[in-house]
Symmetry: D2
Subunit: 381 residues, 4 copies
Amino acid sequence: MTRPIRLGMVGGGNDAFIGAVHRIAARMDGHFTLVAGALSSSAEKARASGAALGLAPDRTYDSFAAMARREARLKDGIEAVAIVTPNHMHFAPAREFLKRGIHVICDKPLTATMAEARKMVQAVRASKALFILTHNYTGYPMIRQAREMVASGALGRIRLVNVEYVQDWLTEPLEQSGQKQAAWRTDPARSGAGGATGDIGTHAYNLARFVTGLGLDSLSADLDAFGAGRVLDDNGHVMLRFEGGAKGLLWCSQVAPGNENGLRLRIYGDKGGLEWAQEDPNYLFHAPLGEPKRRLTRGGAGASAAAAAVTRTPGGHPEGYLEGFANIYTGAARAIRAHQAGQPMPDLDDLPGIDDGLEGMKFVDACVRSSRRNAAWVRLG
Amino acid sequence: MTRPIRLGMVGGGNDAFIGAVHRIAARMDGHFTLVAGALSSSAEKARASGAALGLAPDRTYDSFAAMARREARLKDGIEAVAIVTPNHMHFAPAREFLKRGIHVICDKPLTATMAEARKMVQAVRASKALFILTHNYTGYPMIRQAREMVASGALGRIRLVNVEYVQDWLTEPLEQSGQKQAAWRTDPARSGAGGATGDIGTHAYNLARFVTGLGLDSLSADLDAFGAGRVLDDNGHVMLRFEGGAKGLLWCSQVAPGNENGLRLRIYGDKGGLEWAQEDPNYLFHAPLGEPKRRLTRGGAGASAAAAAVTRTPGGHPEGYLEGFANIYTGAARAIRAHQAGQPMPDLDDLPGIDDGLEGMKFVDACVRSSRRNAAWVRLG
Amino acid sequence: MTRPIRLGMVGGGNDAFIGAVHRIAARMDGHFTLVAGALSSSAEKARASGAALGLAPDRTYDSFAAMARREARLKDGIEAVAIVTPNHMHFAPAREFLKRGIHVICDKPLTATMAEARKMVQAVRASKALFILTHNYTGYPMIRQAREMVASGALGRIRLVNVEYVQDWLTEPLEQSGQKQAAWRTDPARSGAGGATGDIGTHAYNLARFVTGLGLDSLSADLDAFGAGRVLDDNGHVMLRFEGGAKGLLWCSQVAPGNENGLRLRIYGDKGGLEWAQEDPNYLFHAPLGEPKRRLTRGGAGASAAAAAVTRTPGGHPEGYLEGFANIYTGAARAIRAHQAGQPMPDLDDLPGIDDGLEGMKFVDACVRSSRRNAAWVRLG
Amino acid sequence: MTRPIRLGMVGGGNDAFIGAVHRIAARMDGHFTLVAGALSSSAEKARASGAALGLAPDRTYDSFAAMARREARLKDGIEAVAIVTPNHMHFAPAREFLKRGIHVICDKPLTATMAEARKMVQAVRASKALFILTHNYTGYPMIRQAREMVASGALGRIRLVNVEYVQDWLTEPLEQSGQKQAAWRTDPARSGAGGATGDIGTHAYNLARFVTGLGLDSLSADLDAFGAGRVLDDNGHVMLRFEGGAKGLLWCSQVAPGNENGLRLRIYGDKGGLEWAQEDPNYLFHAPLGEPKRRLTRGGAGASAAAAAVTRTPGGHPEGYLEGFANIYTGAARAIRAHQAGQPMPDLDDLPGIDDGLEGMKFVDACVRSSRRNAAWVRLG
């Protein structure tokens, strides 16, 4: 193992949920070491958070702009940055690091608005640095295997895709209590046009595309905001039409009591079906047409090369969310190292990037447009 | 127990699936005795089937018309008839028995066409006899309990209904092989305008309404016929808007490999959620908002009065499809006996009848109309 | 179908649990018609129960002895009798009917004592009539399939058998409240030497033997009576050594909160494993060595001829406890009819009888003997 | 966060399974940094493995003895060492580090022999350094919660403990193929007197004790070696008698096809029951007597303080084996830091140590002694 890649972080101060997840994921396989941070827009909180994480004081910054400027000049400055701020604060920092050649690992969705999304695309294209979007669920081994099985024709021609991401944490108007996660996710200024669609619907849509490889023709969406006083959708029903004739249903909700992170994917072709659930991610159920359903296990009987490539522990010793997330970071490390070595880029097919980010933004935009037009069929913009 | 009610049967000859189910359901609790039948439109097969069932030769008829005429005149003629023919053969026999005051227990959907459905409504209204439609899934004890819980406010105000009925048996064009069940179900002349929507979508829709009590405002349906050469839909994606603001998703499919009779219902209100699956019908999962999910068991801890009223065995000794079906027959027997005794009709609220039948036909009709108009929102006719 | 077999019943009056189960099982497939009963040792209750079941008053008897005498003389007297009394009341009635050539269908365990059990064997041997013991769990289709698979060598050489029957209904001293089921099952005078071992341990042991065909070499049992004031065991831990070297664990308990009727069987050979649970009986899990686990479904993909032979509904339309019980009755009917026709007896291999009854009694006796000797290894007597 | 603790490793070279697990666990929360290693008894392999892990060449040692001597003299020498060698190589290195005041984190079981185990106890007592044994399953959040619930009396008085650890990887004589893991685990010289009992039975026994707090009175064990040519047990059936009257069953097996790492724990008291399975570790099922079973989720509804204290991600984002393992390392870090600061030791009650190690060795020894005496009841030595 070569030395770890030097990583900075924007956002992710004390009490932020996803920042801690990124840090563990970056650390899991030893490929990254966190050395700098602009961890909060509050200078005081940024310093306290940096100290808590053991960052050197001179590499704990008050602003992402200061961090970008100084780190770019340091001999041992950061080589990559993780951006884990709310959606509306993705583009501005990403641009600063990208233009200095610092690789960006950015949380999803890509941005808060379509306009920013398009600017992000430009910024990525103009940069020599890499851009990775943490659609982390694609990092699960059995999802990698599902993708491989679909591509190999194990299901025959795909006819149906059923994907849902169902939660319950916004059943009540939690944002009115001051809960930070709820506050920004229900605020159009920080989240963008989509509520549940942007937060989790994009994950569901990305996962369906990642596994099936199908392109979307059009969608029809019926969005609702059930929570009292809520502006952004907290539930979305979406019918999908894929190119080539496959059909799909996508359901995202944050108001379904009893569901924590119920991301479930079911895919059916004319030769078989696959079923997977994020809450029990070590299992992939495969039903070859006319035969009994089989339970394929990560690390165990039936696991494929694609799964094995991102597997750490044997079957029956479950891996979880953090390991899946770490697989994205480890893929990013592999890409960054090839880039640094001037080697031909490895196959990044499995690594979500700017195209996925733009597609996700278009998905949210299309859902909102469709729903405003009484669920008319719309194409992605 | 008073003597069993004398029952006749139209359809259900050798090799018919649902006829045998009706006979077991009728016999399960001892409330009916099968004494006459017009079991097939083929005279020879009708006789052979009658003999196999132990019917007296003089009560084995070549036609439902002959059976209706003669049985109505017999002193110990049939008091009720089960109609278990394909959809297009529901109305004609039902009319004959209804007009002679013989109670009708009819398989679903009500008829093959809307025109016949409306005539059926007239025939029922014009008759003194009872009309019961075997939406058998409403007979499951935990479905009765779910209905009771929703009505009691255990879930608060209902926001979301997710119902699906997913099968795989028509993944390949089985009807081209001459398989009888597949042949008539994919034939518009015998099934009507709906394929999967009529055969199983009506069950799903009925179940959602039975449990929630919600009235439908409108729906948007995207129907497909994936099977080669197939005319009727074998997959339906339907978005639902209920009166009062609740939303729903309904998915019915006969082309999803690995699914046998995957009828699943999930209901979410602002105080909790309920989940139930027909293939594991003895469990009802209840998630009060903010509390752990509980597994309520038929006959066991958490079972309510509504469930207990239709329960035969203790918790952990599973009841199944036939017991649920028998609960419809036993409810029918109770109603028929009250009717015969001139007593006030018992509360038939739990017993599906002509209104449910018409609603189901309207549902299929609306799905087909919507789908033809590119999934436009339509109201039930 | 020929006419139903005329059946009488001993025990099973109002409020008895298992009597009602036997009646439904006898009726399910139309092979039996209940025409006589000695339903209670209380004359008044016997009459009331007979009336409730619609029996003719002159065939509602005060005692089994009276029933046996009179029915044997009637031209259309009963051809078979179901004995559904507590254990200590199995032998006396069975003897009366057997000696008059009336077939006996008897609940398990065979008797209350070993002495009676041996007398029962004599009575059966001395009679021309058939004797069937309702080890009903052997009637489940997927159990029939499991047996078939083991016999066919699908698991290779059997090494391990793990069987358990776990309940919770006697966690508290329910018998002290006057609850009838608890009262006799915890009373040595009516149950015999075994509590949980006799009531449910015999089922578990029978099921393991039925599926594996293994003969027992010896066992070591540690029995406990946890319930306050309880004499008979309510929990049993039993280690098993089979002939040929296979080993087993058997656990029966009535004091494990959260378990209703948790009868579970796991069998492992050198080529594969099988797992089955009575509470979800339509599934049989098969793990061929080194391959993914498969879920075989009753009536569906992977169901074998042995399962299909006792299956009524298609896959995904669950059958349950009553259908499994009915399979015993239907097997009994087939045997009785062959007997009446003077035909060679059909293969009764699947039908539990006197040998199983005696084996079960020996199992209980051995458990009690072993436990009294500090779990010494003992052979069946 | 203060700086990471400097960690060395003995064993864990390329291709060793458990070494990689320890490294990830040590790294997960950022509390340790691996700086030195004696990774293999082969000098060449030790160097190659050190290089692959990015260790400095001068801190890649040929032997644990050299590492202990030199690191103890370095100013920035290791503060703790992880010993991840086969069982027979635990004691010798542990002694070297302990006597130099370097904290030891040792894999289980404690040693290969009872004699070594007792020497290990002496070495630990004679040292000022800490000794932690990685009974990693005690690190699972829902196991912490189960322990807390039992201690709080949520189950009432414990009556029954059922624990099993079932695998299938030694169904065939894998050790004869040269597979390294199988080779040493089936070799008495390297594993000790127990095969499955030592490898996984000790985990099961430790887990049962950890959660219930019960002391063992005696056990009766029936061990088998089913694998061809195998000397050590690959299957163990064990009956347990706890002090105070509770009873238990323990089953460990490595020859049960279809089981990967089936560690399952069920505990029943007179007020309720708990069930947990390592392969689905985010759920804890709690059945209060007479109430529906509840599914408590890690990070979600019903999770307790004890669970929350070792939880990283919200409910529905599963944690797994590595996170549970990391909880042991993080507990170790906390203890080491308190020790270094001369602070009163934190409550190490949750952290497995030398006492657990000795108890585990006694358990294996007792199983072997009992089995040799035909499963006689024996006390721990």
